[in-house]
């Protein structure tokens, strides 16, 4: 498509970050299929995972196009090692109990939706088009997550305690999503992506309100755990990739 044109590495990173967040979370959530505590929740989790896989495909296709080396979405998903993945640490955290899975989803959705709304105004039309499509799905995900966080937080003594434990464990990972680095600053300056600080502020205010309704306390002074956006992951990602990439690694180019 483009020859001898220098790859826009910041834009490439943005597409990978958005795509990898969706892909890794989908892989995590998809593992619940057939195991959720209620049939309706099983279907909901599978549907959320499906939306995220669809979104990952769009972002990674765009990443391949920006890179200009002929890599497809599948190539990027199945043939990169952990260090090349750009997802935030939050989405690779283990499923834990149902409370952990829901809390991880809620913390992600609470950032994902406003981020996609902002990306709809991206100076890059391809980014804006994908965001326009994904935003509607993310809004639906957020609606479900918020409802469940409040119902289970402000629920029985056991459900509240489990939600509080999950919040304590996962909250430190939420900040990375809104923590801007040089790539984000460059993209914001070019109006390709929003100022992540603004997204983070809105997100924090929203979370505060929901946690108050859910009678949960966020450990706001906890240090932010980050590194995934730059490729420095927790030990969990390697295991996820080992599962997800096994077939293409063992039988390169296999199709059906």
């Amino acid at each position: 498509m483009t020859t001898a044109i220098k790859t826009d590495t910041a834009l490439f990173d943005l597409a990978l970050r958005m795509g990898d967040n969706a892909l890794i979370l989908a892989q995590r959530v998809g593992a619940w299929c057939g195991h959720a505590p209620a049939l309706e929740e099983d279907i909901a989790l599978a549907n959320v995972a499906l939306d995220l896989i669809g979104q990952a495909k769009m972002w990674l296709s765009l990443a391949g196009e920006i890179e200009g080396k002929g890599r497809s979405a599948d190539d990027l998903a199945f043939l990169r090692d952990a260090r090349q993945y750009r997802n935030a640490l939050l989405v690779e955290q283990p499923n834990g109990d149902f409370a952990h899975t829901l809390m991880r989803q809620f913390l992600f959705d609470a950032w994902h939706h406003p981020m996609l709304v902002a990306l709809k105004s991206s100076a890059d039309k391809r980014v804006a088009d994908i965001a326009g499509k994904a935003e509607k799905e993310a809004r639906y995900h957020l609606e479900r997550s918020e409802d469940l966080i409040i119902r289970l937080g402000d629920g029985t003594e056991e459900s509240r305690q489990r939600m509080q434990t999950a919040l304590g464990a996962l909250y430190p990972f939420a900040g990375e999503l809104s923590a801007a680095d040089a790539v984000d600053a460059d993209l914001a300056a070019r109006k390709i992506a929003p100022d992540l600080g603004d997204i983070g502020k809105g997100c924090a205010a929203y979370l505060k309100g929901v946690f108050a309704d859910a009678t949960l306390n966020a450990p706001e002074s906890a240090a932010v755990r980050k590194g995934g956006k730059q490729g420095l992951h927790s030990e969990h990602l390697g295991y996820i990739l080992a599962d997800m990439q096994f077939l293409q690694r063992a039988y390169p180019g296999a199709t059906w």
Partner: protein
């Protein structure tokens, strides 16, 4: 499966585009079914090739693979039909990003047109404007209802509103209905039930 969009040529207008696409324009009266033997396949190039109206009416006969009572035109999935030289290019839009029917729809569309004698068909995907259930016309809504699926209610803007829309039971018409689950048997549907006739039903989410 769906090739990337490369360039635009003159778009043929859809007889059923804009709000309510698929309603009136999707009428299949008098059009032979795709599986019926075609009396004389139309030539594909030059002055005798099929017109846009003709192609739209053929596509109005291609059922959605998950909800076969409505067609891909009814649902607003077909966005444009255009000739690029001797190739017929059909532009489709995905409903939900991860809907597994998307690939099947592209295949079915190409296959239906091949049966009409158009051998060089390409399908491509367009994301923007994002698909919305506002594109489902009145006729298609009636078809969904008759099939037992409550059609989208309240306009697409109510997606994500915590207040649920008022949904009529497709069996008894009661509005004393409630959501069982936000998700259902396909990405586009939610699970509901009727408090009057007590039957569960699928609701085609307003999106």
């Amino acid at each position: 499966m769906v090739r990337a969009e490369k360039r635009n040529s003159t778009l043929l207008p859809s007889p059923a585009c804009g709000r309510g696409a698929g309603g009136e324009g999707a009428s299949t009266k008098g059009i032979p079914r795709a599986d019926a033997p075609s009396p004389s396949p139309l030539p594909q190039a030059g002055e005798g090739r099929a017109s846009a109206d003709q192609i739209w009416s053929w596509l109005a006969d291609v059922p959605d693979p998950e909800i076969p009572v409505v067609s891909v035109v009814d649902l607003g999935i077909v966005r444009a039909v255009e000739w690029e030289g001797d190739d017929l290019v059909v532009t489709l839009t995905p409903t939900y990003s991860g809907c597994p029917a998307t690939a099947v729809i592209a295949f079915d569309v190409a296959e239906a047109l091949r049966r009409r004698g158009i051998n060089s068909v390409r399908t491509k995907s367009r994301l923007s404007p994002a698909w919305t259930t506002d594109w489902i016309g009145e006729t298609a809504r009636e078809k969904l209802k008759a099939y037992g699926i409550a059609p989208p209610a309240g306009g697409a803007r109510c997606v994500g509103d915590l207040k649920n829309p008022i949904v009529e039971c497709p069996r008894c018409g009661s509005t004393a209905t409630e959501q069982v689950s936000r998700f259902g048997s396909t990405p586009c549907k939610a699970s509901w039930r009727c408090r009057d006739c007590l039957e569960p039903f699928d609701y085609f989410k307003s999106f």
